[in-house]
Amino acid sequence: MPKPEILDPQGKAVQGALPRLGFSGVTDVRQGKRFEIQFEGEVTDAVLAEVEKMAETLLSNPVIENYIVSVEQ
């Protein structure tokens, strides 16, 4: 996700469109990215550490974005 202090023009565009469609009460919209990464076998701590590294080096830019890694079976 873009960090809270970073302007998110895409989120702003979505926020602007919602009231035009009759959706009210929305105070903010932030747009981010989601990556689904599949592994064979069990997701061990070592695998998770690898994914953290991927998130930090390539999938996100730590200057402007935060990330969260979560596991789904």
Binding site: L7, P9, Q10, A13, L58, N61, V63
Partner: protein, 222 residues
């Protein structure tokens, strides 16, 4: 001087950059993203375009091209490196320059002849300009909004690392109207507008961009 221009998949302005380098009195050397080889060049230009289709983030995938390992190492040794537009984005993604470039605040692609002020003429790419000189060159980008956290921004301003600033209008929402920055050492410069498109009267809006390519020669004989 031999100045390398890296071509990535999706680079657009590599040939213009080579031409500008020649008009500026230097030898242009084509470098290939897939080769970890700088071919003995003395300086490097990362040109504009849409490398890797701007997928993931602008410059994020190019950063890991084989040639970039060499570019980063050379930059850290002090070699002059200039990133223009997409090249600026690649330099930020490579952490050779602070900050990042995000989508224009107005969400539209912008293409205009843009007035700039040279704020730092002590880099190897801007020494041909006078401090405070105003130049007009073309700007064309969709993701040219320069951002950095408050600390990084204060450091850029305090250390004189802002190389060029937008005048008249802020075309993309860049913080402090920043159009270009340099690293602490001053050898790596990133610039969002395109000096390589303003090097001869016949094909450009003027010749205000030529200084970026003659500075190297002047520096060499200074």
């Amino acid at each position: 001087m031999k100045v390398g221009v890296v071509t990535f998949p999706g680079s657009l302005d590599d040939v213009d950059a080579q031409r500008a380098i020649r008009i500026g009195g230097n030898e242009a050397v084509a470098l290939w993203h897939g080769d970890a080889d700088l071919k003995g060049v003395d300086a490097i230009v990362l040109p504009g375009g849409f490398s890797y289709g701007d997928y993931l983030r602008c410059g994020a995938i190019s950063r890991f091209a084989p040639v970039m390992g060499e570019v980063v190492a050379a930059a850290e040794r002090g070699m002059p490196v200039l990133g223009i537009c997409n090249g600026f984005q690649i330099l930020c993604e490579s952490h050779l320059l602070p900050g990042a470039l995000i989508r224009n605040d107005h969400r539209k692609f912008v293409c205009r002849d843009q007035l700039l002020r040279i704020e730092n003429n002590r880099t190897p790419w801007t020494s041909a300009y006078t401090q405070g000189q105003e130049i007009r060159i073309v700007l064309k980008n969709g993701e040219g909004g320069f951002v950095a956290d408050a600390d990084a921004l204060a450091r850029l301003e305090g250390e004189g690392q802002v190389v060029a600033r937008y005048l008249e209008v802020n075309p993309n929402g860049s913080l402090n109207d920043i159009a270009g920055v340099t690293n602490a050492r001053g050898n790596v410069v990133g610039l969002m507008p395109h000096p390589e498109h303003a090097v001869e009267a016949l094909t450009g809006s003027g010749v205000d961009g030529l200084g970026f390519f003659t500075s190297l020669v002047e520096g060499a004989f200074a």
